[in-house]
């Protein structure tokens, strides 16, 4: 089946089998390998991407369902080679260790901070509770999200006063 999907701002067309999962299309066909697979049961969130701005598990959406929609992966987070504040914050606060869950965590964070520019620790823990991390114990992920929130808020404030 033919699909047209905007992937990381780039219009992309393909002929895919209906059964092909979005995550496999991204990883294996488009070679966007930042998005990972960590389970078989829609439990881990390593495959989280944004579809029309909403974070979803790309292992539980067919590629054909993304037809006509906009998909954003971690590869689309940085702009013009400039790290997104979320990326910088995850490094700064040691919000990752093995790095396998990190892309999913960052995409969930991106969606959270779109809706809530000043989330509490509880908000953050709730928002990332569909994503499993085996290394960090989440505490530094929470700190990373807090730092990113502050950065983004400050940038917005700068932009409005400038």
């Amino acid at each position: 089946m033919d699909i047209n999907v905007t992937v990381n701002s780039k219009p992309t067309s393909a002929d895919v089998e209906p059964r092909r999962l979005l995550v496999h299309w991204l990883r294996d066909d488009l070679r966007l390998t930042a998005t990972h697979v960590g389970c078989d049961t829609t439990s881990c969130g390593a495959c989280t991407v944004l579809v029309d701005g909403t974070p979803i598990k790309s292992c539980t959406l067919l590629a054909v369902q993304a037809n006509g929609r906009e998909v954003t992966t971690v590869e689309g987070l940085a702009t013009n080679g400039q790290l997104h504040p979320i990326q910088a914050a995850f490094k700064e606060e040691h919000g990752l260790q093995c790095g396998f869950c990190t892309p999913g965590m960052m995409m969930v964070t991106a969606a959270l901070l779109e809706k809530n520019e000043d989330p509490s620790e509880e908000d953050i823990r709730w928002a990332i509770s569909g994503n499993i991390c085996r290394c960090t114990g989440y505490q530094n992920i929470v700190k990373s999200v807090e730092l990113a929130a502050g950065q983004i808020k400050a940038e917005r404030a700068d932009a409005t006063t400038a």
């Binding site: 969130g45 979803i56 598990k57 509770s129």
Partner: protein, 293 residues
Amino acid sequence: MFPSRFDYSAPDSLDEALATLGQRADETKVLAGGQSLIPLLKLRFAAPATLVDINRIPGLDVLEESNGHLRIGTLARHNQLAADSLVGRRYPTIASAAPQIADPLVRNLGTIGGSLAHGDPAGDWGSVMLALNAEVVVRGPTGERRIPIDDFLVDIFTTSLNEDEIVTEVLVPQPEGSFGGAYLKLERKVGDFATVGVAVHLELDGDTIARAGLGLTAVGSRNIKPTNAENALGGNKCSDELFAEAARLAAEAADPVSDVRGPATYKRAVVEAYVKRGLAEARDQARARAGRT
């Protein structure tokens, strides 16, 4: 994991969807949020010949009050219900249950219609709708049916929805008087199915219970409506003793099995504890609402 092959269509009208479904209804599955169906496809526990994706049909995500009901379109996502301000103001049981379903990412796609049609006794919406005396609206080749939720839920993974029908809406009666509600869910972690879930809805006239609705999750082969407990509450004044008696009756109505989530005796005890707590919470909400008006 990797689903087996199937044909796929994504019609943009309900009639078209019903027509496709009608061709090979026994081998076709309706794809709504997909958060139960696609995992089954991936594990090859389900291998339908055709999927009919209803996500592109306009109007199926309606969420509004009309004609004495809250109309919830079948495609209303769990997170949509969790965030909706009308639901938050007027339907506390729904507002309380929605954010406890699955996890935040699944809630972004999972739908109320898909969840009810799945017929999982561990599903949360069934209990909520039982407590609220909701009706399920379905469309088939011969037209529309309105099925009371208690008749819709039949047995484990079995509903009274025919193979060639699609759930289109859920109708929840608007609450009257001062009301309160809650959904209490014991889960082992976020994203787990309920060990036990209890939905509570109360409508008070002064301190007298004008209507009480209860629903129990994961303690039987379908969501359970403990009518004895509801009847014990109706018409009586709120009291801790009354709530304790209702909780006891609800625990009696529960028919849990022992499994990895705990022994049956335990699940009964949790039903009893949660019904008591849920009723108290609903009463407090109702009193607070009465105080405000």
